[in-house]
Amino acid sequence: MNYDQILLRYGEIGLKGKNRKIFTNRLHENVVQKLRKYPDIKVKTTRDRIYIFLNGHDPEPIMQECTEIFGIQSLSLAIQVDNDPESIKEAALFALKDADDAKTFKISTKRINKEFPIGSQEFNHVLGGHLLSNTEGYTVDVHNPDIEIHVDIRQQETYLTSKRIWAAGGLPVGSAGKTLLLLSGGIDSPVAGFMTMKRGVQLEAIHFHSPPYTSERAKQKVIDLAERLTNYGSKIKIHVVPFTKLQQKIHREIPNGYSMTVMRRMMMRISEQVAKQNGILSLTTGESLGQVASQTMESMNAINAVTSYPILRPLIAMDKDEIIEISQKVNLYDISIRPYEDCCTIFVPKSPKTKPKADKVAYYESQVDFAADLQEAIDGIEVIEVDPSSRKDEFEDLL
């Protein structure tokens, strides 16, 4: 006997009513997609949980991958047996012996199928007795057991599980539409992407590239960040905008203190266009109130003024150290701290206005014709698709 399946429990999806199916279908697809590299598994999705039949695969790496799929609250290894007391006894004995280091145990039976002849409480005693008389050195502890064996007697079959592993929670990526993430390569924007994904949003990213002021490595950094983010959802398209000419023009034509604000407004205009062209309904940034000059109330007001699109700012009320904590937890940090300049750190004036006036910004912009440059930037966009499952074998022949 062995654990032959993994049981995935829903988080918030469980609270959904009529449209639950939309969410469970999406989650099903995401699970199948993520576990594509395990050819023999079978994924079965039901109203209140997902079962992965292992068919001989090692459960460890699969469970690890499942903890990164949004929409799953927790998961456990499970054994499926018939609704027959003897089979259940045998499986419970296996589960107990399989748990290393456990000295005390508890049985928790849940009997959904009321036709099962023995009541839950009574069956707990029956199973406990069976385990005690067939093992040595174990005792029952109902308050603080080393291992709790859950026996779940359902209509057709019974599942036995023991250890529960917590997963990422949230909603299945793709169930809440798409956003365009302004991805710079710093610490904040990838975390903002992670947070929106957690709420079921699928990502596309936009990155402003200013060669030769920014290097290929800065671009690579963004690709690597996006690749890490794909662990939590599907492939990510990155729109890389050639931004050099616009930035040079801003630097030349706009008074120093206002150049940063104007640059941000240009980014918003381009992002809105890209969103529009790709059927995306919102923009997402890693802004956190008061962190830098562009993230004051006045700046946000002046920058936001150029778009009617909703801008999602999942980090708006977070402290830097809270953001760093998430960045480290989800393995983005080591990439984010690579020391390459991005378009936001070049041409930075010594003292950008922290309280830019919206009317002044508009006046300065009106003195310069940016239309052609904006269009050129949009036309020159390079789209990079980050899909680890298809991309990674670039050097396959060599390695």
């Binding site: 290097s215 290929e216 490595r217 690579q220 670039e394 050097f395 022949d397 060599l398 390695l399």
Partner: protein, 379 residues
């Protein structure tokens, strides 16, 4: 040609040489150069590191690319010694280590370190009890090889790891050069901090190797002058060699999966045939790594046998290539307590997954022939 000196070095896989040649021609940009041509090399280097980590089942940050076994052993031992000498200056190793471990330890003795060289039993195996007794407040490192290069003896690495882990101040290094690709070793399970692997023993090229350095282990570098290899090893990365070695790692592990049984059969056949030849003693103990068989033919000078076989295009060796320029007896056979006759006449036959049963048969026939020819003259 019948090549039975695979523990000295192996024939590089053709795929390995292909990789080397392609990378040397197309990826000569320095991975640390900031331009995009350098970036291309850096990406290949990262991918190689990722694949190496995946293959040996460790984290990317734990892979240090080196120039081979000798550097790996030096880096591990001196690296720990110099970085942690303020905690203590005592090192424990065994009497049957490779010269790159023993000589490194001796050089440390000259610098004020104290080294315990654990004895081995007749089978060439250390005693965990001896080890535990040898550990003191001053001990900072235990360095024990996995598979012995002359005898093929396997050391109880897991047990040693258990013991060393009871002393949190002590690091554990394993010279895995002869074992890698032949006898699996779970670095984490065995609680090892540093592991040396060499490329040219697994059909890679000379000048390649990996030192596994467990996350959080501080070692002082041998080379200074750059931030390469996580600051553990300065110097422009030898990209073509590294990539070709990672390919060798992949290939040897594939071979290990499918050909372990075949190698065992070869080894058994070899021992069985040798036993039928008069005068041959098998020094390798019953339980050993299949690819190494050590024998003695008392009364015959081993060098003469080697040369006589070489004339027939068959190649075996005496002791480890790294100690073979010193005369006479094998220090390892001495440590195992063999008689003088035997330890002066040790021969090593070392196999690879490439050898065939026909080669083994022919080798045994030719060896018998050689002994017959020589018997009139030498005895």
């Amino acid at each position: 040609m019948i090549y039975l000196d695979n523990s000295a070095t192996t024939k590089p896989y053709p795929e390995v040489i292909d990789s080397f040649s392609q990378v040397a021609q197309q990826f000569y940009g320095n991975p640390s150069s900031i331009h995009s041509f350098g970036l291309r090399s850096e990406r290949l280097l990262n991918q190689a590191r990722k694949q190496a980590a995946h293959l040996i089942d460790v984290d990317e940050s734990e892979i240090v690319f080196t120039s081979g076994g000798t550097e790996g052993n030096n880096m591990a031992i001196k690296g720990i010694a110099f970085a942690h000498q303020n905690r203590g200056k005592h090192i424990i190793t065994s009497q049957i280590e490779h010269p790159s471990v023993l000589e490194t330890c001796r050089s440390l003795e000259e610098q004020g370190f104290r080294v315990t060289y654990l004895p081995v039993n007749n089978n060439g195996v250390i005693s965990p009890i001896d080890l535990e007794k040898a550990i003191t407040e001053e001990t900072i490192l235990v360095s024990i090889m996995h598979v012995n290069n002359e005898l093929g003896t396997i050391q109880p690495i897991q047990e040693v790891g258990q013991i060393v882990s009871k002393y949190p101040k002590v690091f554990f290094h394993v010279d895995h050069v002869q074992g890698f690709g032949k006898i699996s070793l779970d670095f984490y399970d065995c609680l090892i901090d540093l592991v040396t692997i060499s490329g040219h023993k697994i059909h890679g090229l000379r000048g390649t190797g990996i030192l596994f350095v467990k996350k959080g282990t501080k070692i002082s570098p041998l080379f200074h002058g750059g931030e390469q290899e996580n600051k553990f090893r300065a110097g422009t990365e030898n990209l073509a060699s590294i990539v070709s070695m990672v390919k060798a790692v992949r290939l040897i592990l594939e071979q290990q999966q499918i050909k372990s049984d075949q190698l065992r059969a070869l080894s058994n056949k070899l021992k069985k045939s040798l036993k039928t030849i008069n005068g041959i003693m098998i020094n390798t103990p019953e339980k050993h790594a299949d690819h190494i068989v050590n024998i003695s033919i008392p009364g015959y000078k081993p060098e003469v046998i080697i040369h006589a076989l070489a004339e027939k295009d068959i190649f075996i060796s005496t002791k480890s290539a790294c100690s073979s320029k010193q005369p006479d007896e094998s220090a390892i056979l001495v440590a195992c307590g063999f008689d003088k006759e035997i330890r002066n006449s040790g021969l090593r036959i070392s196999l690879s997954y490439e050898n065939t049963i026909e080669e083994i048969e022919q080798f045994c026939t030719e060896l018998q022939d050689v002994l017959l020819q020589l018997s009139g003259i030498m005895r």
